[in-house]
Each structure stands twice: as C-alpha cells, then as structure tokens.
C-alpha cells in the first residue's frame, strides 16, 4: 500500500486522542477525514507528519516504515502538510517562504528559485513574490502555505482545515486549486475539513473520527447516510448544510 496507518494509538497523559487508527490511501487518491471538534483529527495528522510519535502501531509510506521519522525526514520522503493554525513566516517574503519548501528538493538557490516561482504561479499568487507574508490577506496566506508545501514536491499532501475561515467564493476557488493539485501533480490528498461540501465534491473515500476512534469509512454518500455518523454529528449545522446541498 502507498500509505498505511496500522493500529495507531496516541494519548496525551490520560486522554486517548487517537485509538487504534487504521487508514489506507492509494497513490493519487483523495481521501477525507471528518469528525466533530476535538475528535483527534489534527492529532492524527501530527502523528503522520512526525510531530508526535505514536504510543503503538505503525505508519508506512511507499513501503518504508516511517513511524519514528522526524518531521523534516517525513517531508523528504514525500509527505507534506498545511497546518490548521498557521502563521507562516510573517517576516519573510512570499518568495522566500516558498523557497523554504523548494530547498527541501534543491540545495542550490538557482535550482530552487524556478521551482518556487512555478508553485507561486500555480496557486495564483504570481506577481506577489516580493510581498511580505504579513501583508497578505487570509486567502492569499492559505494559498502561500499551499505553495510552500507543494514546493517540497509531495506525493501525499495533508490539508488540515485549509478551507476554514474562507468565504463561499473563496471556497470554490480553493476547491478548484486543490483538484488541480491532484490532477497536475498526481498528488494524493488527505483532507480534514469541516466544510463538508469540499469532502463531498472531491473525496473518493471518507473516514469518520469520533472521540479518537474511527467510527465509519466509505464513499461520501455511504458515510453521510450512515446511522452512526448522523448520530455523531447530531446538531452540527455544518453537517446538515452539506447534506442539504447534496440532496
């Protein structure tokens, strides 16, 4: 399997944030991860990206056991992510920020720079290379973070609530961009999202997490009509909004 988490458990003191999690992602696949706030989604991503070491279980990528890899090593083998709460590098320019990612693949600036420029163009921020990150608006900052992650040339990209805080028109644009990443680079995507329309629109498989445990997995249609999931989301407006749009 291209990417596989097997029986991963991660706890903080007495709190079990992830319990016995098993996930499979195929090459180039787009997979969603949903669940109420505090379910343990971000923890799962941080475990995959090497910021937490799981208490038990293993993670493999491209046939390699990456369970104990440091975050920078994870990036080097081809897994990148965008953070839920990111400040990016406010004192750097857009170009320099994306260069940080590009330097993961090229040591020389003369080779990293064209890659960084390509990614800046790709996310639609061409012309803003010299602008300080602190001068970008929220939407631009999210695209900048995406560009930096893409510059590391990932084979698997984890997006943690990339769409949160965007207005509907921006959600549409971002959705197009995310699709384009998958189409043009063949990057597999693992997406945590509250805006369920995003999950419905592009994922072929969705995992549902509640209280640290996976309670369902299937196509978006299967998952949203599942009893357990509806119960887990009872009273969650996002969920109803999304299913309404679908029907």
């Amino acid at each position: 399997m291209f990417f596989e988490m097997s029986n991963v458990t991660k706890s903080f003191g007495g709190l079990v944030a992830n319990k016995d999690i098993s996930v499979e992602i195929a090459e180039g696949e787009i997979v969603g991860l949903i669940g109420p706030n505090g379910a343990g989604k971000s923890t799962m991503f941080k475990t995959v990206t090497g910021f937490h070491i799981p208490d038990s279980g293993s993670i493999s990528f491209g046939g390699k056991d990456i369970t104990k890899y440091e975050p920078n090593k994870i990036c080097q083998v081809g897994i990148s992510c965008t953070f839920q709460k990111s400040q990016l590098f406010s004192a750097l320019t857009l170009e320099e920020s994306v260069l940080v990612g590009a330097y993961c693949r090229h040591k020389r600036k003369s080779q990293a720079l064209p890659l960084a420029h390509r990614m800046i163009e790709f996310v639609g921020l061409g012309g803003k290379e010299e602008v300080k990150i602190s001068k970008l608006n929220m939407f631009e900052r999210k695209k900048a973070e995406l560009a930096a992650a893409l510059a590391t040339e990932p084979k698997l990209l984890l997006l943690d609530e990339l769409f949160a805080g965007l207005v509907p028109t921006e959600v549409e644009l971002m959705l197009e961009l995310v699709k384009k990443i998958n189409e043009e680079f063949g990057t597999a995507l693992f997406i945590v999202e509250h805006v369920l329309r995003v999950i419905m629109g592009i994922c072929t498989k969705v995992y549902v997490l509640e209280y640290g445990q996976l309670i369902a997995v299937g196509t978006p249609e299967e998952v949203t009509s599942s009893e357990v999931v509806i119960k887990a989301y009872l009273g969650d407006d996002d969920f109803y909004a999304a299913t309404d749009i679908k029907s």
Partner: protein, 330 residues
C-alpha cells in the same frame, strides 16, 4: 524571468555598494586627518561592526538569543595570543587556532541551543562562558592568568596597517552577512526563527541550521577577537566579560536588529563611548556602560526597531523601503 533576477541582484548590490563606499570614504579620511586616538576609535568601531554582524546573524536572523557573545570573541583573542606569544606561530596559524576552538565551542553551544530554548539556553551560555573565563585565569602557564600574555614585538603592526585590516574585515563581514541573508542559509535561519514547526514540516533540518548559525556567528566573532589580540598585543580575561557582550547586543539593537545596516549604524555608539572615555577621568571609565544601558532603555521605549526605523521614517532610502518601491513600479 531573467530580467527579474537581474533586477533583484541589482537591488542586493545597491545598499552594499553604498556601505562599501561610505566605509571607504571614512577610511580615506581617518588615516589622513586622524591622529592615533582617532584611528584607535575607528578600529574599535570596526571591531564592533564585525561583532555586531556576528551577533545579528545568530540572534537577529536565527533567533537564538546569544547573551554571552564575548565568549566567541574572547576565544578568538586567546587563540591568537597563545599561538603567537607561547608557541611563536605565524599570525595565520593564530587565526586558525582561534577559529578551530570557536568551531568546537560553538558546535557545543549550537547543540545546546537546538535542544533547549529561552531561559535554559541563556543559562547554559552563562555557565559555559563563566567556565571559560575561570579557565582563562586559572590556566596561568598557558594563558598568563589575570594579567595575560604580551605578544612579542616582532608581531607589532603600525596603526594604519591595523586600521586597514580592520576596515577590510568590516567590509568583508558586512558583505558576508548580506550574502548569507539572501542565500539558502539565511532563508532557513529566518524561517526557523519565525516558525520552527513549519520549517521542520517543509523539510528544513532545524537542529542542523541552529548549529550552523552558531558556528557561522562564532567564526565571525573569532575573526574580530584574533584581530583584537593583534591590536592590543596582549590578552586578558576581561575579553570574556559581560560588558563586551552587552555592548555587542546594544550596538545591534540600537542600530536595527536583523538588518545588515544595524551594526554599522549602531557602531556610532562605540565611537561616542570611546570619545566620552577619552575626556572622562580614568576612574570614571567603567561607568560608561551606564550610557549603553540608558541608550538601550530609551531605544526600547521610543524606537524598538532601532535607529534604522528613524532613518526610514524621515525618508532615508534604506533597504526595506527602496525594495518596496522597486516592486511596486514593476
């Protein structure tokens, strides 16, 4: 794309040419009109420019607060003076010995800095620096103890030679800082200061870069120290003192932290300090540190971004501003 790069290169060179020009003009004046006192003052200013760039690299760019920076400077001094006074090695060997000791020491400091943060890093530095200070006194046969060693007369250089060397070193370190800032290393330094987690997740080996920043910074300080030994023709444990560390920090903070201009602007403080010392009775001289402390407090309250920010606000076209103009007109 190509013209884009050209433009950027021009912009990188522009402020640097200005700095070099300014320094060269200054250089032309001092040996002609200046007396020995003036040359001494100018040399001290150059030394603090070098030390300022060194500290600015580690703290201004990589965000690792170096509180006992005189440690690296002092090791440079002792590397030179011991090699020359005790072992009669050539100057270049003294320079290399200082560098070597500093690389070892800074690798240790850098490793500590990549594991510990904040107060713990500061405490570790103070501990290390006190240890070295004590050793420099106790290892009398090697270091000359409290009084230090005197270097043999054949190493004596005349003032204007020393002056030119100081100038060249100051220009070279200024160029080095500016170059590093724009290179891969500089980007990685600032990135890890701004957001270490994101740097890691973008593949940056944050621990390695922290050690690298410390080693680069210590090497620059070592250069200043080795030169200082030749300038003073002796050593003494006071080169490790907190007063020197404090002055380095203040020079950069007053000038403008993180900017290539910072140490250059801030070194004017050293000139002022030396002038004041010149007219003050010698018993009062140690109190000059109070001036630094006062200036620091005033700057922290009125102009936290350093003198450079005042320059910018009255319309001087320094780095940041001129860059913005070019990118808008593009």
């Amino acid at each position: 794309m190509r013209s884009d790069n050209l433009l950027r290169r021009e912009r990188l060179l522009h402020p640097l040419t200005a700095v070099s020009l300014a320094l060269v003009i200054l250089a032309a004046f001092v040996p002609i009109f200046g007396d020995r006192l003036m040359m001494n003052i100018a040399i001290m200013a150059m030394i603090y420019i070098i030390l300022g760039h060194s500290w600015n690299l580690l703290t201004g760019l990589a965000g690792m607060f170096s509180i006992t920076h005189a440690l690296f400077f002092g090791l440079g001094v002792y590397g030179m003076s011991i090699s020359v006074a005790k072992f009669h090695l050539p100057i270049i060997a003294g320079l290399l010995v200082g560098l070597l000791i500093n690389i070892v020491m800074s690798a240790i400091v850098g490793m500590i800095g990549s594991k510990l943060s904040g107060l713990y890093f500061v405490m570790a530095q103070v501990g290390l620096s006190q240890t070295i200070y004590t050793l420099s006194i106790q290892l009398f046969p090697l270091t000359g103890g409290v009084t230090g060693l005197s270097m043999p007369r054949e190493y004596l250089m005349d003032k204007s030679t020393l002056y030119w060397i100081a100038l060249i070193l100051a220009i070279l370190t200024t160029l080095a800082f500016a170059f590093i800032r724009k290179s891969r290393m500089g980007t990685m330094f600032v990135a890890l200061k701004e957001n270490p987690d994101l740097s890691l997740s973008l593949g940056s080996n944050v621990g390695k870069w922290r050690i690298m920043a410390t080693v680069m910074s210590a090497s620059m300080a070592s250069l200043a120290g080795s030169f200082y030994a030749l300038f003073m023709m002796s050593n003494n444990p006071e080169v490790f003192s907190m007063v020197i560390s404090l002055k380095i920090i203040i020079v950069v903070i007053v000038g403008g932290i993180g900017s290539v201009w910072g140490p250059i602007v801030g070194s004017s403080l050293v000139v002022m300090d030396e002038l004041i010392r010149g007219i003050m009775p010698t018993t009062m001289a140690p109190f000059s540190v109070i001036i630094y402390a006062l200036v620091l407090i005033i700057m922290a309250i009125r102009h936290p971004e350093g003198l450079i920010s005042i320059g910018r606000s009255i319309g001087l076209k320094l780095e940041g501003k001129s860059m913005k103009k070019v990118s808008i007109s593009k």
